[in-house]
């Protein structure tokens, strides 16, 4: 395929490769800056949820999509981040800008611990190990006095000095800033030796070792980095919802995140973002449809609510059947189509 001509490796290794991409980027930034003015509170809240999910999905994709280590415990890392920040800000009065990295580090630390068995366990066995970890975390959160179990915990508002974040609009800018930063960091990891080593381990671990890539180091590192993203996402989620209960971080959250990266596209940054947008958006879409139909077909709308989870599952199954590369695959095909148009190939 033609289209781009470059004279230095620096240009060839850049994230934004040509003018078109840069134009799109600017359009996107302008839209992002002005969308809080154009959208109502409900619509902004959806975008905020998507932004938080993006951070979590990027982390999980680094672990599953890049390094090929199946994890069913991502929800637990979000829980750890959420509760760490809730306790730090609530009980110790530590400001948010400190508790955010600390909650990421806390999750990361436990991620490293979970990562150690990954040196022995692979595939489904590793998935079971992470699942066990998730249950342990959930059990502790339910039974520890400090976390108040089922009663849940109230979480403080985000504030820096006297400035306190209250409106959806303020949350939007904050969350989008973090999400954008997470996307850039992931993309950078992707194009550095870290990302290449992760993918090498995923594709052929024996050859990776012979090429000088220490498996143990990178497998555990993948867990640590992935958990950090999870912890940060959990922290943001806690402060955004301002109320956390252990039940909201159970296995279904982990599965939702796995669904995001599978539907979006394993081992791609764009896939994580698209998957997070779609999976977060679907429930709202369903609610929207239900609202539309409520007047004329009350029975049908009730039916849709009953089968909300089923619809979710159906989307995943259909994606796996027809588009195993996920939304990223669709994006690639579309790009090629327009690049080579009007020729077939």
């Amino acid at each position: 395929m033609s289209g781009s001509y470059k004279v230095s490796y620096k240009e060839d290794m850049a994230i934004f490769q040509n003018l078109w991409v840069k134009v799109w980027l600017i359009i996107f930034i302008i839209l992002a800056v002005f969308s809080p003015i154009l959208l109502n509170r409900y619509q902004l809240s959806i975008l905020n949820e998507m932004g938080i999910a993006t951070i979590g999905a990027l982390g999980l994709n680094l672990l599953i999509g890049y390094t090929g280590q199946l994890s069913l415990g991502h929800g637990a890392f979000l829980a750890i981040g959420a509760y760490t920040s809730a306790l730090l800000t609530g009980k110790l009065g530590i400001p948010f800008f400190l508790s955010l990295p600390l909650s990421g580090l806390m999750a990361s630390l436990l991620g490293l611990v979970v990562g150690i068995p990954s040196l022995r366990l692979k595939g489904l066995y590793l998935a079971l190990g992470t699942l066990a970890f998730a249950f342990i975390v959930e059990y502790i959160l339910f039974h520890w006095d400090l976390t108040q179990g089922d009663l849940g915990m109230a979480v403080k508002r985000i504030g820096i000095g006297d400035y306190v974040i209250r409106s959806q609009r303020q949350y939007f800018y904050l969350i989008m800033a973090f999400a954008t930063f997470a996307v850039i960091c992931t993309k950078n990891l992707d194009r550095s030796k870290i990302g290449r080593s992760f993918k090498a381990i995923r594709d052929r671990d024996i050859a990776a070792e012979a090429m000088g890539i220490p498996l143990a180091k990178y497998k555990v590192m993948a867990f640590g980095i992935s958990a950090f993203y999870g912890g940060v996402a959990g922290c943001l989620m806690a402060h955004y919802n301002r109320w956390i209960v252990p039940g909201s971080f159970d296995i279904s959250l982990s599965i939702a995140y796995i669904a995001m990266i599978i539907i979006g596209g394993l081992g791609t940054v764009l896939g994580s973002v698209l998957g997070a947008i779609l999976i977060t958006g679907v429930p709202h879409g369903i609610v929207y449809v239900v609202d539309l139909l409520k007047g004329d077909y009350p029975a049908l709308s009730g039916f849709i609510i009953d089968f909300k989870l089923g619809i979710f599952g159906l989307i995943i199954v259909l994606t796996l059947l027809f588009e195993p590369k996920g939304l990223f695959g669709v994006y690639q095909r579309t790009k090629v189509y327009f690049k080579t148009w009007p020729f077939k190939y």
Partner: protein
């Protein structure tokens, strides 16, 4: 047989390596020494233990007895990545490329230990990380040019034809800037043209890049043309060593390959 006077002239010294899987002895008391700058071939019928010996050198198998020294340092207790960092690269017999990555990324991935930055720098990507990446890219591009792979630079490996994948396999090993290159059957399943190309690459690697090459190969023509020295293995035992000329005329070798002459 060469008399070992001064061991320092040998880059790779394998001394009475024995390796058995359960009751089957894959290698029995195998010794050989490779001089710096040589092309050294290991031949033998199927199941003779050639690839097992490679696996012992690169640390994937741990031999029960014996010693393997590289530049005078013992390799026997080291892990594969540590051995790779010392400068021993390997091109596999059955293609073991990273199928989901492009040719470029496959080559770049072999240089992880040569670029010195951690994951925090990688996440920011400015300064040192970018500089090291460009340095790596420079080296990798030299290899891409050397192996005539410019056109497939950004193609995912999975879709490439077999002969090209073999070439990428060789390129990935070279990307590590090795001192010693282990090549396992580089021309198996290749046609005459591809074999000739590969022979030329191997000679250039040896002469221009100044890399010692240890070759396992069934193609006798290639072995006889390229090698400085040849060792013959049969059923895990070394049965002969010498120049290609000596090997070709050795009755024991002929017998191992063709069987006993009927009288």
């Amino acid at each position: 047989m060469v008399v070992l006077e001064d061991s320092s002239e040998f880059q790779l010294e394998i001394d009475s390596v024995t390796m058995s899987f359960g009751g089957i002895s894959a290698l029995h008391d195998v010794s050989l020494s490779v001089e710096k700058g040589q092309i050294y071939s290991i031949i033998g019928p199927n199941g003779a233990g050639k690839t097992t010996l490679f696996n012992c050198i690169s640390g994937m198998y741990r031999a029960q007895r014996g010693s393997i020294k590289f530049d005078g340092k013992e390799l026997m207790r080291l892990k594969p990545p540590e051995i790779a960092h010392m400068g021993i690269a390997r091109a596999f017999q059955n293609i073991e490329l990273f199928q989901g990555m492009t040719v470029l990324d496959n080559l770049m991935s072999a240089r992880g230990h040569l670029s010195h930055y951690g994951f925090l720098r990688a996440a920011i990507y400015l300064g040192k990380c970018r500089k090291e990446e460009i340095k790596s890219r420079d080296w990798v591009e030299e290899i891409i040019e050397f192996l005539d792979m410019q056109a497939i630079r950004k193609t995912p490996v999975a879709g490439l034809p077999y002969g090209l994948q073999k070439r990428v396999e060789l390129g990935r090993a070279l990307a590590m800037e090795p001192k010693l290159l282990l090549v396992d059957e580089p021309v198996s399943g290749m046609n005459i043209d591809e074999t000739e190309d590969m022979a030329r690459y191997l000679l250039d690697i040896n002469e221009e890049m100044d890399i010692t090459v240890v070759l396992v190969e069934h193609d006798m023509g290639l072995v006889m043309d390229l090698s400085d020295r040849v060792t013959v293995l049969n059923f895990g035992t070394k049965i002969a060593e010498g120049t290609p000329q000596e090997i070709a005329n050795n009755p024991v070798v002929v017998q191992a390959y063709l069987g006993e002459a009927e009288s």
